[in-house]
């Protein structure tokens, strides 16, 4: 059978459609898998990262995959191969590490400063003490009751600002902008403190190249000073250290006070002639840039231009850190409410069944019967207060004895008043009175009798005594 060209075209279109569907499905799967991988490995993220080291205007790129260095490259800003390399890895976070030999420090004791004044004060220091383009970092030290805020600024150069612009143009998130001298000083200080007890005054010597060192001086946790020394000679180094210590006297250093000097194994001598300087040698492997993993960096600087890229790195981490526990709290609450609801539903069903059972048993004229049942006690109560018994009692009492010309009965506030007027008496009045007084309680209950006479008429007022 010969296939017509139209059939072939249809077959091609459907094949492309299938291919597209397959690709879309595959991409979606990989997208979801990437999300899952990022969430599951949030503690060790990133395993795949790029470090960009700056030293005297030269840049070196280190690419790590699963914490293993896989690529190193010397780069310059105009270098297109570097741009291509980074563009090939758009998801890899970049950490820019500057040597930062031009740092400034401002220390401020903030013990007695109130919370609401702090923000204002710290902002003032940032704007007044440093230049607007400087990279400013801030950390706080709590030593016993003393609280100190320290500002660190790295003086930015045109070149560094250009690097920031280039980094901002990439799609990669920025994991941090760090100062190599600061980070390394803190790493070696921490390392040395494990093996040796450190003095209050600590000097770290960081080699930049063979004849270039950076000295950082710490007092307890405070960084006080940074100096750059150009020397190959140990004596010169000692002289520089001694002159630095003399300078430190204005920061509270006293002459002869012991100082721990942390320096690379390679550069360490047998000892300085000045007994106050105690050398602690640091293994060379710690100082290698290839081994540097800034998972918990000390001070992260964030220039405005890289704010979005920094946020893109930090925000998912914060989301994972806070939203997942919050979601779990909601889940636990939901589960507990569900359990309560289950028992509640069961109780409701039971109550409903009980109600229906009772309701089904009631007769059809239940409501009417209920209405009558509410009325009948009222009716009985009212009939108890009726005067008929009283009237018949009076009739019995007065039968054939007197002729009543007026009867008046008044019922108010639970008591009655009965007023009788007689016109003729068959017996003498005093006998009749005696008769009534003796028999009144038997006929009327507890009553007060009041007699009065006017002309031929005799009146009797019978008042019920107060029940209370």
């Amino acid at each position: 059978m010969t296939k017509l060209p139209g059939w072939n075209k249809k077959a091609e279109v459907s094949q492309t459609h299938k291919q597209n569907n397959k690709n879309f499905w595959h991409e979606s799967q990989s997208y979801i898998f990437s999300i899952w991988k990022r969430i599951a490995n949030w503690k060790v993220y990133p395993l795949d990262y790029i470090h960009l080291h700056e030293l005297f205007g030269l840049y070196t790129l280190y690419h790590f995959q699963n914490n293993t260095l896989i690529h190193t490259q010397q780069i310059s800003l105009e270098d297109t191969s570097c741009r291509e390399y980074i563009t090939r890895h758009p998801n890899t976070p970049i950490c820019f590490i500057v040597q930062a030999q031009d740092c400034e420090f401002r220390t401020l004791p903030t013990n007695k400063i109130k919370m609401w004044d702090r923000v204002f004060l710290l902002n003032q220091i940032k704007t007044n003490e440093f230049r607007p383009d400087d990279l400013i970092g801030h950390y706080r030290i709590k030593h016993f009751s003393e609280r100190t805020d320290t500002f660190v600024s790295i003086r930015s150069t045109e070149e560094i600002l250009q690097v920031f612009k280039t980094l901002a143009s990439f799609e990669n998130p920025i994991s941090g902008i760090l100062s190599w001298d600061l980070e390394l000083s803190l790493i070696i200080k921490k390392h040395a403190s494990i093996t040796h007890p450190l003095r209050a005054w600590v000097v770290t010597i960081i080699p930049a190249d063979a004849a270039n060192f950076t000295i950082l001086i710490f007092f307890q946790e405070k960084i006080l000073l940074q100096r750059v020394i150009f020397t190959k000679n140990t004596d010169d180094l000692e002289k520089e250290l001694c002159s630095t210590l003399r300078f430190l006297q204005r920061h509270g250093y006293k002459d002869g006070q012991a100082v721990s000097v942390l320096m690379p194994e390679e550069n360490s001598t047998n000892g300085f002639s000045n007994a106050a300087l105690e050398i602690i040698a640091i293994p060379q492997k710690i100082l290698g840039k290839e081994n540097f993993k800034p998972n918990k960096s000390f001070l992260n600087f964030s220039p405005k231009i890289l704010f979005q890229a920094r946020l893109a790195h930090e925000f998912p981490r914060l989301c994972i850190k806070f939203l997942i526990p919050l979601s779990f709290i909601f889940l636990i609450l939901w589960a507990s409410v569900q359990i309560k609801s289950f028992f509640q539903d069961y109780e409701y069903k039971w109550l409903k069944a009980k109600y229906e059972k009772i309701h089904n048993k009631i007769p059809e004229d239940f409501e009417y019967q209920l209405h009558l049942s509410n009325l009948f006690p009222l009716y009985l109560d009212n009939s108890k207060k009726s005067s008929f018994k009283l009237i018949s009692s009076i009739q019995k009492l007065l039968k054939d004895k007197v002729r009543v010309s007026l009867i008046s009965w008044d019922f108010s506030e639970q008591n009655f008043k009965l007023y009788l007027r007689f016109t003729q008496l068959t017996k003498p009045l005093h006998e009749f009175k005696k008769y009534i007084n003796n028999n009144a309680e038997r006929f009327f209950g507890k009553v007060i009798l009041t007699w009065s006479e006017q002309d031929k008429d005799t009146t009797l007022l019978i008042q019920q005594r107060d029940k209370s």
Binding site: Q344, L351, Y355, E364, Y368, S373, W409
Partner: protein, 209 residues
């Protein structure tokens, strides 16, 4: 600030943020839903419990009513005769009063209704009657009939009976000859309380009958 969407649409960044917010939103939604359901069921359970209690109380009331019927059969008979099924109007009362007049051998001088808010649907009303009777017994009979035969609960608040004519031979002769004469004049103040059953009670009652 221009948003760099290329950074944010990545799975590790935007995907994670979005999925976590969706997750949080979903859990929050189901939590709110389940709390809502719990509250509704709680209210329903409370309502049905209250309804059951009311029903039990009502059944108890009817049981005690039945006991009362057995204890007071005579009063129940008069109570049942009362008109409890429809609205009470002023015309109804007037009609019954005139019937009672005929039965009791009395003469109304006036009937004065008081405090009636709606003459076509009386729930509470006061009346003042002025009557003349031949014998005092007729007056008391009439009083009793008022209490027993008027609809609703009748409360006699006040009455007064006064002899207006002395009974002598001439008067007795006239009475004997058939002349209409009244020796007593009386006033009665009474109150009617009529609790009308609700519509549904009536329908049930009519169905029942």
């Amino acid at each position: 600030m221009i948003i760099n969407w290329k950074i944010w649409i990545k799975a590790e960044i935007g995907g994670v943020i979005l999925s976590l917010f969706i997750l949080l939103g979903f859990f929050f939604f189901i939590l709110v839903k389940s709390i809502n359901h719990y509250q509704i069921t709680h209210e329903k359970a409370q309502t049905i419990n209250e309804q059951t209690n009311i029903l039990i109380t009502q059944i108890d009331t009817i049981e005690s009513y039945e006991k009362l019927i057995k204890q007071e059969p005579q009063k129940f008979r008069t109570f049942k005769k009362k008109k409890w099924t429809s609205t009470l109007t002023l015309n109804d009362i007037n009609e019954i009063l005139y019937t009672l007049q005929k039965k009791s051998n009395i003469l109304f001088i006036f009937i004065q209704p008081k405090n009636i808010s709606n003459a076509n649907n009386i729930s509470k009303a006061e009346f003042s009657l002025n009557i003349q009777v031949l014998r005092d017994q007729h007056f008391f009979n009439f009083l009793q009939k008022l209490e027993l035969e008027l609809p609703g609960i009748v409360k006699i608040k006040k009455y007064e009976l006064k002899r207006v004519k002395e009974l002598n031979q001439q008067v007795a002769k006239k009475i004997h000859e058939g002349e209409k004469m009244y020796l007593f004049e009386g006033t009665i103040d009474f109150e009617i309380e009529y609790i009308q059953p609700q519509e549904k009670h009536l329908t049930k009652q009519s169905k029942c009958h």
